[in-house]
């Protein structure tokens, strides 16, 4: 790892000023960044540590929302009574991520900015194969390689990676917004629109670098926190399907919220994780589920239909069926039927 300058500003505004240097990176928990630096994925000349900005730790409720500061750790978010009560899906997603000691460092701000677990991407530089994310124009080794962990939605020939974050799936399912601060001031980004698939990046005209575009966060901007709407009568759940029961990334994950009135679904929201480079909302199923009873046979057809436009790669067709079952289980669990 090459050496770097280090700054630890004490306010978000000072952090933005320090990030004016185009070779600077933000560090919070460091659970991703230090590993990227070891692999040569990034080589920042300067790290701007947001660890002393205690104003960004806060978890509180305000005018019908839960507000969570970007520096709140995954354990703090997952175990917070407000989050457990009003956003169970986020609590579960946080506590099913990583390990207890990683979760004491990893922050909710940094977590959604983690990079794909694609093994062709996460290798020591120089890479012996093509990866458009690491080096635009070199191809995608996973496209016709070992792609059992890769995307079934939103991929193109330039990149088939998935976004592995658990909390991001819960935040997208909850219609949360990220509060963003940059040189131009503050703005908010819907978490359903925060991440970008390669297909979207290419449509947006990001050219040769499209595989490197993963979020709508602009250079010099930081996430300062999130706003999550609290909805009376709504319940939620997170299902993470993986090859071991703890400290493992998802094969497929599903987040669900549901409000039930007189035994029927008044409103449901569903989001899948690890199937695309963004949390994948099943809007078609959400619409079709209104009026259905919270019963396996009543809800499975809507979910199965919504999965109809999945495009599996050579080795990951299993993710389509796994997604149907994970979404079904998440919705049943949210509705108290598991």
């Amino acid at each position: 790892m090459r050496n770097f300058q280090y700054a630890a500003p004490e306010s978000p505004e000072l952090a933005i000023a320090a990030l004016g240097d185009p070779e600077a990176s933000v560090i919070a928990g460091g659970t991703e960044l230090l590993n990227w630096m070891r692999l040569g994925i990034v080589r920042p000349a300067k790290l701007v540590d947001v660890g002393r900005i205690s104003a960004l730790d806060r978890i509180a409720s305000a005018d019908g929302h839960i507000e969570i500061g970007a520096r709140a750790t995954l354990n703090d978010v997952g175990e917070h009574p407000l989050v457990r009560t009003h956003a169970a899906v986020l609590s579960q997603a946080c506590l099913k991520a990583a390990s207890a000691q990683v979760r004491n460092r990893a922050t909710l701000g940094g977590n959604v900015l983690q990079k794909t677990r694609c093994t062709y991407f996460r290798a020591d530089a120089p890479l012996p194969w093509g990866c458009n994310k690491r080096e635009p124009g070199t191809g995608c080794a996973a496209l016709h390689g070992h792609n059992d962990r890769h995307a079934i939605f939103g991929w193109t020939d330039i990149c088939v990676a998935t976004q592995p974050s658990d909390p991001a799936v819960a935040l997208a399912c909850l219609d949360a917004e990220a509060n963003v601060l940059g040189p131009g001031g503050t703005r908010s980004i819907a978490m359903t629109d925060f991440h970008v698939t390669p297909a979207e990046a290419q449509t947006d005209g990001d050219g040769a670098d499209a595989a490197q575009v993963e979020t709508r966060l602009q250079p010099g901007e930081i996430i300062t926190g999130y706003r999550i709407p609290m909805r009376d009568g709504e319940r939620s759940a997170y299902i993470k399907v993986r090859e071991r029961d703890s400290f493992e990334y998802a094969l497929v994950a599903a987040a669900a919220t549901v409000m039930v009135t007189d035994g029927r679904i008044a409103r449901a929201r569903l989001a899948l994780g690890s199937v695309a480079q963004k949390p994948w909302r099943l809007h078609q199923a959400e619409d079709a589920l209104v009026g259905a009873e919270v019963r396996r046979d009543a809800i499975e057809p809507a979910i199965r239909t919504a999965m109809g436009d999945a495009r599996p790669l050579e080795h990951n067709a299993y993710k389509v069926e796994l997604s149907v079952k994970a979404a079904l289980r998440a919705l049943l669990a949210a509705g108290g039927q598991s």
Binding site: I27, R38, N104
Partner: protein
């Protein structure tokens, strides 16, 4: 002709409390807490396993919370209280209840993961997660034991929690 030189970043002075003693260190910004503990503070109890946050052998307490020392830069520890496995026993050498429980339950074979397991267990008990076998397995999953002493480790954590009145 001037020879090319690598750009030298100024070192940073860091003040922290290490096992209840005030220490100051002047280090390159890129030095991790793990490397500093082992190479400069000569506290080699904290082990370097994977160096990427996957094994838990380097687990230490920072301000009382368990964290991976390999995922922490020393410069991020300014003003913090760091506790390593060397800081658990009493001044007179009397073992911490978790250390004693690991011995009594044969909770190790090669021993390489043990310092991280012990530190992690201290925190796991303090957090209130050492309530039953399933909870211990879930909340100790960040500490890998390649000898697979998991049944004994789980028993030791529950035994220590019991001795400490924390179950």
């Amino acid at each position: 002709m001037t020879p090319a030189v690598a750009r030298l970043e100024p070192p940073t002075q860091v003040r922290l409390r290490l096992n209840d003693e005030a220490v100051a260190a002047t280090v390159e910004n890129r030095v991790t807490l793990l490397d500093w503990l082992r190479e400069r503070a000569t506290l080699t109890g904290t082990k370097k396993g994977c160096n990427e946050g996957a094994c838990g052998a380097c687990t230490v307490l920072i301000d009382g919370k368990r964290m991976n020392a390999c995922l922490t830069l020393l410069v991020q520890c300014e003003g913090k209280q760091v506790t390593t496995v060397e800081g658990l026993a009493g001044q007179d050498g009397s073992l911490h209840p978790v250390q004693q429980a690991f011995i009594d339950n044969d909770a190790f074979q090669c021993g390489y993961c043990t310092p991280g397991q012990v530190i992690s267990a201290v925190a796991c008990i303090e957090e209130g997660h050492a309530t039953d076998e399933a909870s211990v397995r879930e909340w100790m999953s960040g500490n890998i034991c390649r000898c697979s002493s998991y049944p004994q480790i789980t028993a030791a954590v529950l035994d220590a929690a019991k001795r400490m009145g924390r179950t």
